[in-house]
C-alpha cells in the first residue's frame, strides 16, 4: 500500500514537472523543471528496487547532462519567450495533433486495460537480485556478459556522434573566421 502511495506521488511529481518544462517561458526554469522531473523518475526506479539505475539517473541525467544543458542555455543567453499577444496561430493544426495524440493515448489505455502480466522472462525478483550480490554487481555482470555486444556497439555510436559533432563545429568555425575576415 505504501509503495502504491509512493508510486502515485512520484508519478504525479514527474508529470507536473514535465508539464513545467514545456509550459514555462524562461528556458532556465524549464531546464530546472527537467531536473526535478528526472529526479522523480529516479525515485520511480528506486521504487522498482533498481537502485543502481536510480543513482545513475541522478548523477548522469539530473547531474552531468543537465549541467551541460544549463551551460548551453546560459551561453546562448536566450532570454524569456515573450508572452503571446493576440489569438494564437495554428489552432486547426494543433487541434488535429492533439486529437491524434489523444487517440493514441486511448489506444494504449485500451491495450493495457485489464490483466497485464509481463512475461516471466523479463527481469528478476528483488530477492533474487539481493541473493546474487545486489544491483550494481548484476548490472556489471550483465553488461560484460550477455550484453557485451550492445555495450560495445554503443561505444561505436558515441564515437560517431563525437566525430560528427567535431565535423559540424569545425566547419562552422572555418565559415565564421572567413566571414569575420571579410567583415574586418
Amino acid at each position: 500500500m505504501s509503495a502504491q502511495i509512493a508510486f502515485y506521488v512520484l508519478a504525479l511529481g514527474a508529470l507536473v514537472s514535465a508539464l513545467g518544462v514545456v509550459l514555462v517561458r524562461n528556458p532556465i526554469t524549464s531546464a530546472l523543471n527537467l531536473v526535478v522531473s528526472l529526479c522523480f523518475v529516479a525515485g520511480l526506479y528506486a521504487l522498482l528496487e533498481a537502485h543502481f539505475v536510480a543513482a545513475v539517473q541522478v548523477t548522469v541525467y539530473a547531474g552531468a547532462i543537465m549541467v551541460l544543458f544549463t551551460f548551453v542555455i546560459m551561453l546562448l543567453d536566450l532570454g524569456t519567450v515573450p508572452a503571446r499577444t493576440g489569438p494564437p496561430e495554428g489552432i486547426p493544426k494543433a487541434t488535429i495533433m492533439g486529437a491524434l495524440g489523444a487517440a493514441f493515448v486511448g489506444l494504449v489505455i485500451h491495450a493495457v486495460r485489464g490483466d497485464i502480466r509481463v512475461p516471466t522472462t523479463a527481469g528478476m525478483a528483488p530477492e533474487r537480485v539481493a541473493e546474487l550480490g545486489g544491483n550494481s554487481r548484476l548490472v556489471g555482470e550483465l553488461l560484460f556478459g550477455p550484453y557485451l555486444l550492445p555495450f560495445e556497439v554503443a561505444g561505436v555510436l558515441l564515437l560517431v556522434a563525437l566525430v560528427g559533432t567535431v565535423v559540424m563545429a569545425k566547419r562552422d568555425s572555418v565559415a565564421k573566421s572567413t566571414a569575420s575576415r571579410r567583415n574586418s
Binding site: A111, G145, L148, V153, V160, V163, V166
Partner: protein
C-alpha cells in the same frame, strides 16, 4: 560469476568490428595527414570496405544457409539476408568513396572526415542487416543515421546543405524516438527485445501480448517508414536529397534504403512471420500510397536531384509491395530489387556528379538538353540507368519490377500488382523526358565541365555494366537473393 559462461561466437561480430576499427584507422590517418590528401583517406576507406567484402568470401565464413548461420549470443547473425544487404551497402559505400573526392574538390570543401564517416555508416548498416535483437538493431540504426546526418550537412557553408542536415536530423531523431517507443511496447508484450523471443511470445496468442505488440509494431513501422521514405513519412526526402552533396545523396538513397529494408524484413519476418495478418494490410497500403505519390510528384520536377528523390520514394513503394507480398518470393524479390536499384541509382547520381557545376548548378532539365552532342558517353550512361529505374528490358530494373510484380500476384495482391505496372508506365513520363532532352534537344549552352575523374568514370562504367549484366543474366544475383531469403521463417 553467477551466469552460465556466455558463448560468444566472434565470427558474427567480425564485419562490424572490421568496419568500425577500420573507420577509426581512416580517421586517424586523415588527422595525421591534416586532411591534405583526400585521395589517401578515400583509398584507405575503400581498402577497409574491400577487406570486409573479402571477408565474406573467405572459406571460414559460413554460407548463407540456416544451419550455418552463426550468432553472437543470439543478437547478431551472419545469415543470407545480413550478408546480402551488407554487401549491397558496402558496394554503395565504395561508389560514394569514388565519387566524393572530385565532387568535394569541385565544391571547394575540405573533405577529410567524409571518408571515415562513410565507413562508420556502413558499419551501422552491417549491424542493422545482421542484428536479431531490437536493442542491437536500434544501435545500428542510430550509428548509420548519425553518420548520415553529418554527411548530409557536410557542406556547412551552403545553405541548402545545412537546411538538409537540420531537417533530416530533427525529423530523424523524432522518427528514432518513435521507433524506440515501439521497442518498449515489444518488451512489454514479450518480456524481451530479441526477435525470436518476441515471435515465441506471440505464438502463445495471449490477447494482451498481441494487443501490445500491435501498438509496438505500428510505432516500429512509422519509424521505419521515415527511414525508407514511405508516404506519408516522406516529406523530408526531396529537400534533404537535393541539399545533400550528390555522392551522399547516392549513398542515402541506395544504402540507407537497403539497410532499412533489411531491418523491416528482419522485424516482420523473424518477429512477426507467423502473424502476417498484423502487418500485411498496413504495409500494402503504405506501398500503394508510396508508389502513387512518389511517381506523381516526380512528374512535375525540373531539378534532376529532386526528381531522383521522388523516384527514390516511388521505388520504396515497389519494395514495400514486395515486403507485403510475403515469403519467400516477396523477400527474394526485395533483395534482388535492392541490388538492381543500387546499380541504376548509383550510376544516375554518378553522371550528375560528372555533369554538375559548382554549387550543383547545371542539374536542371534544360541544362542537360543536347548532352548527347557534347558528352555522348555520359548521355548513354544516364539513359541506361534511367531506363533501368523505369523498368525497361533488358535492364536490371525490369527484372526487379518483374519479380516484385510476380510475388504480388502470387500473394493475390491484385491491387498493388496492377499499381506496380501502372505507376511504372507513369514513371516513364519523367525518365523519358530526361532522355528525350538529352538526345533530341539542341544544347542550350556551352559545357565548361571538366572531364570526369577516374573515380567517377569507374562508378559510371561499373553501374552501366551491372545494369545490363543484371538485366540479361538476372539469375546471377537472383540465385543469391533466393538463397538469402530462405533461412528466414
Amino acid at each position: 560469476m553467477h551466469f552460465p559462461p556466455v558463448q560468444f561466437d566472434w565470427i558474427a561480430a567480425v564485419p562490424m568490428t572490421l568496419l568500425s576499427v577500420g573507420g577509426l584507422g581512416v580517421l586517424l590517418l586523415d588527422a595525421k595527414g591534416k586532411g591534405r590528401n583526400p585521395l589517401v583517406s578515400a583509398g584507405a576507406a575503400a581498402a577497409v570496405l574491400v577487406a570486409t567484402l573479402l571477408w565474406f568470401v573467405h572459406p571460414l565464413v559460413p554460407h548463407a544457409t540456416a544451419a550455418d548461420a552463426r550468432s553472437f549470443t543470439s543478437m547478431l547473425t551472419v545469415d543470407g539476408l545480413g550478408v546480402f544487404v551488407t554487401v549491397v551497402c558496402i558496394l554503395t559505400g565504395l561508389g560514394t568513396l569514388a565519387l566524393a573526392p572530385s565532387y568535394m574538390a569541385r565544391e571547394g570543401v575540405k573533405a577529410g572526415e567524409i571518408y571515415p564517416l562513410v565507413v562508420f555508416a556502413v558499419a551501422g548498416m552491417s549491424v542493422l542487416a545482421m542484428g536479431t535483437d531490437l536493442m542491437v538493431l536500434f544501435l545500428g540504426l542510430e550509428i548509420m543515421s548519425l553518420a548520415v546526418y553529418v554527411l548530409a550537412g557536410y557542406q556547412r557553408t551552403v545553405d541548402g546543405s545545412v537546411e538538409a542536415a537540420l531537417k533530416y536530423f530533427l525529423l530523424g531523431a523524432f522518427a528514432s524516438a518513435i521507433f524506440l517507443y515501439g521497442i518498449t511496447f515489444m518488451y512489454g508484450a514479450a518480456g524481451s527485445v530479441r526477435l525470436d523471443l518476441v515471435a515465441r511470445a506471440l505464438a502463445s496468442d495471449n490477447p494482451n501480448t498481441v494487443r501490445l505488440a500491435q501498438i509496438g509494431l505500428a510505432l516500429l513501422l512509422a519509424g521505419l517508414g521515415f527511414k525508407i521514405a514511405a508516404v506519408p513519412f516522406h516529406l523530408w526526402t526531396p529537400d534533404v536529397y537535393q541539399g545533400a552533396p550528390t555522392p551522399v545523396t547516392a549513398f542515402m538513397s541506395s544504402a540507407v534504403k537497403a539497410a532499412a529494408f533489411a531491418l523491416a524484413l528482419r522485424i516482420l519476418r523473424v518477429g512477426f512471420g507467423a502473424h502476417p495478418m498484423l502487418w500485411t494490410e498496413a504495409v500494402k497500403w503504405l506501398a500503394i500510397a508510396t508508389m502513387v505519390v512518389g511517381n506523381l510528384a516526380a512528374l512535375v520536377q525540373r531539378d534532376l536531384k529532386r526528381m531522383l528523390a521522388y523516384s527514390s520514394i516511388a521505388h520504396s513503394g515497389y519494395l514495400l509491395a514486395g515486403v507485403a507480398a510475403g515469403h519467400p518470393a516477396g523477400t527474394s524479390a526485395v533483395l534482388f530489387y535492392l541490388a538492381a536499384y543500387l546499380a541504376g541509382n548509383l550510376g544516375a547520381f554518378a553522371v550528375l556528379v560528372a555533369i554538375g557545376e559548382k554549387g550543383d548548378r547545371n542539374l536542371n532539365l534544360d541544362d542537360i538538353a543536347g548532352l548527347y552532342k557534347t558528352h555522348p558517353g555520359l548521355a548513354f550512361a544516364l539513359s541506361a540507368c534511367l531506363l533501368s529505374l523505369a523498368g525497361i528490358p533488358p535492364t536490371a530494373g525490369f527484372f526487379g519490377k518483374f519479380l516484385v510484380f510476380n510475388a504480388a500476384v502470387k500473394a493475390h495482391m491484385i491491387g498493388p500488382a496492377v499499381l506496380i505496372a501502372l505507376t511504372s508506365a507513369l514513371s516513364l513520363g519523367y525518365y523519358l523526358t530526361v532522355i528525350v532532352k538529352m538526345y533530341m534537344a539542341e544544347p542550350a549552352r556551352e559545357y565548361i565541365t571538366e572531364p570526369p575523374t577516374v573515380g567517377v568514370r569507374l562508378v559510371v562504367v561499373a553501374s552501366v555494366a551491372s545494369v545490363f549484366v543484371l538485366g540479361i543474366l538476372p539469375s546471377l544475383v537472383q540465385g543469391l537473393a533466393e538463397q538469402a531469403a530462405i533461412p528466414l521463417p
